[in-house]
Subunit: 322 residues, 2 copies
């Protein structure tokens, strides 16, 4: 839950007046997102999200994020869309922070995705990859594999307080990943954080994708690998091949995977499990007790990593290479 | 900010289906209220607040709170109104908690109230007192003056860590209050927590009153005294007589004050300052560092208490007794 910045009411009213969205009728801080302050704003014409970008977001990245959402929306991909004020600006200032008013996306995120949800997700992911192909901006993935060893070293031997022997296990695993990381895969804009809480549904219909604040330039198949980890494991830790097949088949219905992408999937899945394991481990070891945002359990991703290590080929993910 | 209970999406969908409010399209936890979990729910027919009552609220009190809101709304007093489900129930269960779906009240609370806002508040307060006169339920004020000395004793000598000599100052002050507390004033339902964040405005027009979870049976003039403390002091600690006059005059435009109420006001203002000072002091001394809800500064109310101690009569509040 997160509202880090209080907005004075007169400043807010002036801010909303700069847009052609009607009169402000309500503004509630919402308990969603850990990086930014978010408010659900009602005006007499509709609902909007007001986002204030907090210190964890680099202001230099904001034109990329805002531009990407605008681009995707223009391509017909449903996502929150930054609203232009009367002067044509989307990225503004409020209460001393960079701020944007963004259309409100109706929908609910699914706590327990089924195969159908995974299928809808796979198709949407491919459509997002295609819709962003002619987006002109790029942003390096600051959390790609070269960043992982420094992250492990920062956690250091304290990792072993979380799971006995973890530091050595991850060091050896990282060696494998670094030696075998695939180069030259089809790449472009990836979401890079497409967990269930970032995908909205109305009934069984996917109504849109939110939270593009990790989006960057990387291999498309890496984005798929992140989704396999985030959507296809059961609460008991088992991998649900049916869900993976649904996700991958639906993806390919929109964008065909190349052979190299197929063969890279098991290693990319290990890599993406490593990425979330390491950031969670770091947060786990560095979050003061009683902090506003509770850190997520890193062990969940250790189990996922161990599963992928046993996978021999993409067949273990429910599909055959073409 | 407060969302203490997570609601599983399937349970939520079933819950909303029991009402005649259309289909659920969105549900966001909101960072408002410290006692309960609140969600802003959109359906295809409108907006609602879903409240889950947490442990700090006694379930036995809920029929009173819900009944009061329904009664006030029926009398034309604008406040959130509990919605009946198809079976006629307003108080239900969700995620293991008592829960109610309540109409959404548009409006914004005013961070820096002006005389005009105080005037609108005074009139609304009187209308609330009048509209609840034929409400049949009662609820004793658990935070009235007999509870204050035990609260001070619980804070004990640690009070002096907050302000040097505070424990003795409050003990002596409490003696005065206990000896002089007025009996037999006109009484009925009071809001008992009518701070600016519980009163919504659309422009200069008061659009409604929220948060009846401290409402109880007490002297009407005590409710006025709470408002004088919450609305009529400036940030620098000075008392704004113009605002007090606006509040009191507007109140009397709707309900005439009796002589005894006039004369009791300075002492009731001291008492209400004592009540908020003591609960804040208690929370200040008993909130673990880094807790989700930051305690409010008790010293603000010590300054208010000291002001009221210097008041000689109601003339110091900007009006003359009739």
């Amino acid at each position: 839950m997160a509202v880090y910045t209080e907005v004075p009411d007169d400043e807010l009213a002036r801010f909303i007046d700069e847009y052609d969205v009607g009169s402000l009728t309500s503004c509630k801080g919402i308990a969603e997102g850990v990086e930014n302050s978010n408010f659900l704003v009602h005006t007499d014409t509709g609902a909007f999200i007001l986002t204030l970008y907090e210190k964890r977001v680099d202001p230099k990245d904001l034109p990329f994020f805002i531009g990407l959402m605008l681009h995707l929306a223009q391509k017909g991909f449903t996502c929150p869309t930054p609203v232009e004020d009367r002067a044509g600006n989307t990225l503004k200032q409020l209460a001393g922070r960079p701020a944007a008013l963004i259309t409100f996306l109706e929908g609910m995120w699914i706590r327990r995705p089924t195969g159908r949800h995974c299928s809808a997700l796979g198709a949407a992911l491919a459509r997002m990859h295609l819709a962003s192909q002619d987006f002109s901006m790029t942003r390096p993935n600051a959390l790609s594999w070269p960043s992982w060893r420094p992250l492990l070293e920062q956690c250091g031997a304290r990792s072993n307080d979380v799971v006995l022997g973890l530091y050595d296990e991850l060091g050896s695993e990282l060696g494998d990943i670094e030696r075998n990381w695939p180069e030259g895969l089809p790449a472009g804009i990836v979401h890079a954080d497409l967990f269930p809480d970032n995908v909205f549904f109305l009934g069984d219909r996917l109504s849109g994708v939110i939270d593009f604040y990790f989006a960057c330039t990387d291999a498309y198949a890496y984005d798929i690998a992140i989704c396999l980890n985030a959507w296809c494991f059961e609460i008991d830790g088992s991998f649900n091949v049916t869900k993976a097949r649904a996700l991958l088949s639906a993806y390919q219905g929109e964008r065909a995977l190349e052979d190299a992408e197929y063969h890279a999937l098991p290693l990319l899945a290990r890599g993406s499990a490593m990425r979330f394991l390491l950031t969670r481990l770091y947060d786990w070891l560095n979050t003061p007790e009683g902090a506003l945002v509770r850190p997520k359990d890193p062990v969940e991703y250790l189990n996922k990593l161990r599963f992928h290590r046993t996978a021999e080929s993409v067949r273990d993910y429910g599909i055959d290479a073409a």
